[in-house]
Amino acid sequence: MAHPVVIVGASMGGLRCAEALRRFGYLGPITIIGEEPWKPYNRPPLSKEVLAKEVSHSAVAFEERSATADVNWVLGTKAISLDVEHNTVTDSEGETHPYAALVIATGLRPKRIVVRNSELSNRFALRTLDDAMALREQLQPGKNVVIVGGGFIGCEVAATAKKLGANVTVIHNAAHPMLRQLGEELASQLQLRHEAEGVRFMLKRSVEDLIGETKITGVKVDDGTVLDCDVLVEAVGSIANVEWLSNNNIDRNDGVLVDSAMRVMRKDDSPIKNVFAIGDVARFANPIFDHVPRRVEHWNMPTETAKRAASVIAAMLNQAPNYPAILDDDFRPLPSFWSDQYENHLLAFGLTSLADRAELVAGEISGECVFEYYREDQLVGVCGIGMRSVVQGYRSKFI
């Protein structure tokens, strides 16, 4: 029997890749290996509405489609090594999986802060469903919640924790929360809206030390302030899960470098024809912006890159005559993100973080508004609070 397409990573990207393989006419076996015990689920609600309610797999699970009913799921199992010479993946149970094509979709894990007393309990990060379940139990009225990191996840958790009645302080290393993505004007406006809800910000600050015996009771900030703390949430960015790919001559300096067909690149800049990377872990150039390979951690990227990889894999394994043409297809997915914080619904397209200036183009800063983001004269992004139709209207300017 033919070897399967093996997808490592049982998250949204892995699932969408399996579905797209079927849609593009690949009928052979598919194996999906995932470290978490759960079938794929949607992560963004974990910091938003799900965290405010009862957290469960069924609340966030992706609907299963009949096309992928015969996928072989290997869950609760971690891929630990890859051998691109022999086309095999070895998992944490010691099993070796030969593949016809491999899809690397191992995503990210949260960075943690480095401090003394790091063994104290009640430190949380938020990436997985299990993380959200553990954190949800702790977010109770009156609890002192300290969030390190004022990016989107940190701010969403702040809004949710506040809604649940906790006392919330955010320690952030920049001058405003979400500054890198939103620019000064919009970021400072959102800061005001958080402050109006009662969230306290300590800006251009970092954690110096954690205080407590076995459980955290306080956080010492680098200006000397000591904050009471029952729950510490660390939202300080992520690290790509690429360690298991070692010894394969793969460029894995910040994620995995791939070409426009999502094929993994060797260090000598040649693609490995049957090894692909998708989602948060894939670093690729997007001609919408320039030719610099980047990892883009926006929610729609796993789906876009999964479909791209699947189109190439299906054509390759089916020996389709148009395989060379499919390899050469243009790939320019438009990044998109959204965020819900209180009644502020943000929607953005492009890569606003590339911008050197932002311009208010619709609405009013105190209410609903839309900003354009420019890198020199190039429009690189748009972001709105509300005003969906206006923001949506920008898609055609990028695509």
């Binding site: 969408r16 579905e19 849609r23 789906t303 959204w338 969906r388 949506q392």
Partner: protein, 63 residues
């Protein structure tokens, strides 16, 4: 025919679906989502793409 359901308790009217299946989904003048609940089979691929891009995962194709 396919049947389409949108969970309006989940939908936040982001309108991502509108671009994948413009014959089925639209934002009205108040920026609220409206949709057609039944469509021809030829729309299936578009509606599946709309399901994929919905940030709230509020869209279902009822089999």
């Amino acid at each position: 025919m396919i049947k389409i359901e949108v969970d309006m308790t989940k939908c936040q009217h982001y309108g991502q679906c509108v671009f994948e299946a413009p014959n089925i989904f639209r934002l009205n003048s108040d920026d609220k989502l409206e949709y057609t609940a039944e469509a021809d089979d030829s729309e299936r691929a578009n509606v599946e793409a709309a399901v994929d891009v919905c940030p709230m995962q509020a869209i279902r194709i009822v089999e």
